[in-house]
Symmetry: C2
Subunit: 243 residues, 2 copies
DNA sequence: GTGGCAAGGTGTACGGCGTACACCTGCTAA
DNA sequence: TTAGCAGGTGTACGCCGTACACCTTGCCAC
């Protein structure tokens, strides 16, 4: 289709495949991304892909490795906290460009070179900041997926917005549903209203996700800072030796 | 098979289906759980299930609702922190019994009655503890999936343990791989060794997951406590009205 | 009892998926 | 000129979720 006629038919390679997969996933999401669909995008028969990636899992791993390179390197000349903060926010912006990546990262048991390299450099930010190995270890656990710039969003999805049409009759139904929610889940409603002045949103409509993320991140970083400053050490590490 | 001969053939119902699905997922994991496999477990033809659940997504939602009921209700007579802490640890133990649930919760855009009820009661713990609606809202975001007692485990999976056999020749290869890792990801290795005295584990082998979870949880709760004590308020909430 | 009716179980079939395997094609190096 | 091989092709298999038409069963009003 795209290279019809006498076009020279550029050769495929692993990079072109991964790049195309990332672009496609950006466009249509991760669920409809199949080997067949990707092949079609590349004007090639499905099995051709298998000359460049071993299987679909490897494709997904490769896609992650591609987007990791978009994360900014650690800044220099700043305190550990700002370095870590900046890096995480950079990762966050990358993950926001590639929404599918969150799910893939969650699902995958990641151990690709790219992931390891990122983790290595991430750990380095703490060690370079004067953290003990012990504290760094626990801190890495505490940060968890926030390292990638995402948290489980509990309040996602505005609510099932009923596409359009059937407005009036639906309005009454929606009113009723709203009443029912208020009766059964009063607290959820209270919280939802705290940020969304439009009650139709029911949950999280007007949330400023970026604010929420940074709020939680700073809570964490401040806690870590405090532990670091007071020379915190786990009981485990206090044991002089295993003997 | 199981009810051969003249056995009375107990009737199916939504509950039996969900219960069986949970049990099956506990046994074989979530990935191999198909409608066909589940039907077979219930000694029934696949399509029979669709008389009790609309489709597979609804099945998964239903499974979540089933296990939510296993989470202990909030304790009474304690401060908010202990109540929240206890509840989260209870959720954690449930999710540990049903390992598949983490993935399902992550994937799903959950809004089942069970999930809403749990969230509602969860929010209630803060409001009852004297938290402002504003702070509670942000705190809920900060807690995120920790509400369910899990964090993204970055150090999971000991390493690809090569099943058995081919021990000696492999040993040399493993040595080489180890050297290579040490060269390319020194920090990762350092951290891994901090908790696992056996270097073969490479990452996180000897981690005490429960300790790590509680470490991160307490970091969070302490931070929240501090904000609460000092009457923290978001700028947003300080605006008197929208006008 | 008997006819009808709804709830629930069955059988067949379709389109999609990942991918094994045998094959063909066209470029490169000798 | 030709051998070799990297890379693209075609066919096929066994899974998946599920639409749709059908049959069975047990209950109820008559």
């Amino acid at each position: 289709m795209s290279s019809q006629g006498t076009a020279p038919r550029v050769r495929l390679n692993r990079d072109r495949v991964l790049q195309a997969a990332v672009t496609l996933a950006d466009g249509i999401g991760i669920a409809p991304l199949s080997m067949r669909r990707l092949a079609q995008e590349l004007d090639v028969v499905p099995m051709a892909l298998y000359k460049h990636v071993a299987n679909k899992d490897e494709l997904l791993d490769g896609m992650i490795d591609v987007i990791i390179t978009e994360i900014a390197p650690p800044a220099t000349g700043l305190g550990w906290k700002d370095v870590v903060r900046g890096r995480i926010l950079s990762a966050r912006s990358v993950l926001q460009r590639h929404q599918w990546a969150r799910q893939v990262l969650e699902t995958r048991t990641n151990k690709t070179p790219g992931v390891l390299a990122y983790m290595d450099s991430f750990i380095g930010m703490f060690l370079d900041g004067g953290f003990s190995v012990d504290l760094t270890h626990h801190v890495m656990h505490a940060i968890g997926s926030r390292m990638w710039g995402f948290t489980q969003e509990l309040f996602d999805e505005p609510v099932n917005h009923n596409d359009a049409g059937a407005a009036d009759a639906d309005d009454a139904a929606r009113q009723a549903m709203f009443q029912e929610m208020a009766r059964r889940y009063p607290h959820v409603l209270t919280i939802a209203m705290a940020s969304a002045h439009d009650p139709a949103g029911v949950v999280g409509q007007g949330c400023d996700d970026q604010f929420e993320f940074e709020f939680a991140l700073d809570l964490l970083l401040d806690g870590i800072d405090r532990l670091h400053a007071q020379g915190w050490t786990s009981v485990r590490a206090q044991r002089p030796a295993t003997t």
